[in-house]
């Protein structure tokens, strides 16, 4: 049971502030972290390794600094980590990103053996599109299970996996053949406090560097130039205004409240 987890380096959202004048994020001094959903994907993969054996690899596409989150991934129990870093990837949108990651994943498989489960987080907390995982699955032409909340069962013999996933208004359990790609919700598990031997191993293991030179990648499908998504405009949503308070428990206040709510409820068809 070999796993490959895709993780993205994101700014620690809790520490990002917005410059309302320029409408941009103040990234200065904000530490980078593993996209929170991706951390749960790593944990899910490590749990399967603990149960069924195999290895867990992790790959990230990003600047050299992303080495640090890969080191963290090792400390969480990953066996091998890969950084896909090259100027030709710069400015990639989700199409170009999933292409590059797909190409990188094939290279990883050459090194660690064929992969049974690919994992991504359900979405990145900065880009938020939730398209990268599906993009990779499509290129591999393998089943895709999004928003996973529980791994029910792995049938190693028949190469199948049963997964519960969130859907609108409920949950469903699906069974898919392996290899497949699973995108994870945070609720799929709780992160463990990594044991010391993992940390020691992490300190001893180095990040494998992949680039367009040592990976079979078509530069014509990478980077800003080959990203069909164009950012037209970026703006900051206006600061939320303070709500209006009505106080009192008499009919007058109640009527005032009704008068305020009625047009809104009518407008959205609830009245």
């Amino acid at each position: 049971m070999h796993s490959l987890v895709f993780i993205k380096q994101v700014p620690d959202a809790a520490q990002v502030r917005i410059n309302y004048e320029t409408g941009t994020l103040i990234r200065e001094g904000v530490p980078s972290i593993i996209n929170p959903f991706d951390a749960h994907a790593i944990e899910a993969a490590v749990q399967l390794k603990d149960k069924y054996g195999g290895n867990v690899s992790v790959i990230s596409m990003g600047p050299p600094m992303a080495k640090e989150i890969l080191k963290k991934a090792l400390a969480m129990g990953a066996d091998k980590v890969f950084l896909l870093s090259d100027m030709v990837f710069a400015g990639a949108d989700t199409l170009a990103t999933s292409y590059a990651l797909w190409a990188g994943a094939k290279k990883v498989a050459e090194e660690v053996g064929s992969i049974d489960i690919y994992w991504t987080g359900k979405q990145a907390i900065d880009g938020d599109t939730a398209q990268t995982g599906p993009g990779i699955a499509t290129r591999f032409n393998i089943p895709l299970v999004t928003y996973a909340v529980e791994i029910k069962e792995v049938d190693k013999q028949n190469k199948k996996i049963k997964v519960s996933r969130l859907i609108d208004g409920g949950m469903e359990t699906v069974e898919v053949p392996l290899p497949c790609l699973i995108t994870t919700e945070e609720t799929i598990n709780t992160l463990r406090y990594a044991p010391l031997p993992y940390l020691i191993k992490a300190a001893k293991t180095s990040v494998v560097l992949l680039n367009s030179g040592n990976t079979e990648i078509d530069a014509e499908q990478c980077g800003l130039k080959n990203s069909p998504t164009k950012v037209k405009k970026a703006f900051t949503p206006p600061k939320r205004e303070k709500g209006e308070m009505l106080e009192g428990n008499d009919e007058k206040t109640l009527n005032a409240l009704y008068d305020k709510l009625e047009p809104i409820l009518k407008q959205c068809g609830k009245l």
Binding site: G29, Y193, P195, L196, P197, L199, I200, A203
Partner: protein
């Protein structure tokens, strides 16, 4: 004992621990450093002026790659009152020639860099892990327990470089918890300003020249306090440290005191228009020589702040930490040759320290902390008197100088000739 995992376990990745780690790793010793911060330096605070010498002995060309801000060419001391500053110090072109005497640094960057050097030399550095206690077998320290699952580690020797609150030295009974009279609470702000503005305000020729100001005097209301203003490349560090007991006695909040300092009419223009980039707080051991614990026991040595190695008068600490880490490492290498890590062999460390500038300097100032505590006039009345006297002499108001000198003599009389002479003599004798 369980099989040892490493030759040496070092607790704490500050200057002391990293110096030991670097020295041992370059000698081929298997070293692990356990650090609780997210990365080495994450929470470490210093003024901070970093002295070249001790580091150069360890890594001769460190200046080529280390993240250093400015080399210091001017060091001043201010005796500060509510409205005046009597200033002394030295600016010298001698300090403007390589090798430079000292630099301003940011510990968050510096420790990270230092840790990378130690890693390159072969040390293993583990972060986000807290050492909880020593593992003792047959009266010997044989390892440490960490807060991680499967977190016990074993080695020949444990070196404690875990800073001022050193859990390990306390657990081994070498040291008590520090009392409020032997520790200063220090706060510091980093205030961002354009390089050019800093150069102009401190009369510096370029972004690599730096200046420092140390501040004491009646402005701090008789509390044992040292303020500081240091220039970084594009920011100014301003802060102060006060003995905790004094803060409690005077019911003063240290942050208010820093605010007051920042708003002092002489300080304010130096930082005007700047943006606060960072705020930090940390403790400094101020107990001096008499607070230093025994530096070793079976399978164990202690370095840096954990051993109270701070020279408050000269704001030296990081260099004492590095020197002690280096000497502990040398001692381990000797012990390894002998194949014996008992207290008897490790006592060499104490001897090495005794012969080094570290304990010699601290010994010289040994009576000073107590004297400052007892003779508050050294911090209040005398500096105020000096400020007033100089003011009188500089103030040309038609009063003849002879009369002025007479008046000054009269106020010395009020302060008490004999007492002042005795205090001054004491002070001189105690730092001799």
């Amino acid at each position: 004992m369980k099989k040892k995992d490493f030759d040496v376990i070092i607790v704490g990745a500050g200057p002391a621990g990293l110096a030991a780690a670097y020295k041992l790793s370059t000698a081929g010793i298997k070293v692990i450093v356990i650090e609780r911060g997210a990365f080495p330096g994450a929470k470490n605070v210093m003024g901070g002026i970093f002295y070249r010498k001790a580091m150069e002995d360890l890594i001769p060309d460190f200046e080529k790659t280390a993240p250093l801000e400015r080399h210091i060419i001017e060091q001043k001391v201010w005796l500060l009152s509510e409205d005046s500053a009597l200033s002394g110090g030295l600016r010298s072109e001698k300090f403007n020639k390589e090798p430079y005497n000292c630099y301003s640094v940011f510990r968050a960057k510096f420790d990270k860099w230092f840790a990378e050097r130690a890693k390159e030399a072969g040390a293993l550095i583990i972060t986000e892990t807290v050492v909880k206690e020593p593992i003792i077998e047959n009266g010997k320290v044989v390892g440490v327990k960490t807060d991680r699952p499967d977190g016990d580690l074993y080695a020949d020797v444990v070196i404690a470089a875990d800073g001022i609150n050193s859990l390990l030295t306390k657990a081994l009974g070498l040291r008590e918890s520090i009392t409020p009279d032997k520790v200063a609470l220090t706060v510091k702000e980093i205030i961002g300003l354009p390089e050019k503005v800093i150069n102009d305000r401190f009369c510096l020729n370029n972004n690599s020249e730096g200046a420092t100001i140390e501040i004491t005097g009646p402005f701090f209301e008789g509390m044992v306090t040292m303020g500081f203003i240091y220039t970084n490349e594009s920011s100014i560090s301003i802060g102060l440290g006060t003995i905790v007991e004094d803060l409690v006695k005077h019911k003063v909040n240290i942050n208010d005191l820093l605010e007051k300092l920042k708003n002092h009419p002489i300080v304010k223009p130096l930082i005007a228009g700047g943006e606060i980039k960072e705020y930090m707080a940390h403790m400094i051991p101020e107990g001096g020589y008499f607070a230093i614990p025994k530096l070793y026991t079976d399978g164990f040595m202690v370095c840096g702040d954990a051993a109270m190695l701070v020279n408050a008068v000269h704001r030296e600490g990081s260099n004492l930490a590095i020197e002690s880490g280096k000497l502990a490492a040398e001692t381990y290498l000797k012990a390894k040759e002998a194949g014996d890590f008992s207290a008897k062999t490790l006592s060499v460390y104490q001897k090495k320290m005794k012969n080094s500038f570290v304990l010699k300097d601290l010994k010289m100032y040994r009576h000073l902390p107590k004297m400052m505590e007892e003779k508050r006039q050294l911090l209040t009345k005398y500096p105020q008197f000096a400020i007033d006297a100089v003011y009188d002499m500089y103030n040309i108001d038609g009063v003849p100088k002879v009369d002025k000198i007479k008046a000054i003599k009269k106020s010395i009389g009020k302060l008490g000739y004999i007492r002042m002479a005795k205090d001054m003599f004491d002070l001189w004798r105690k730092v001799r």
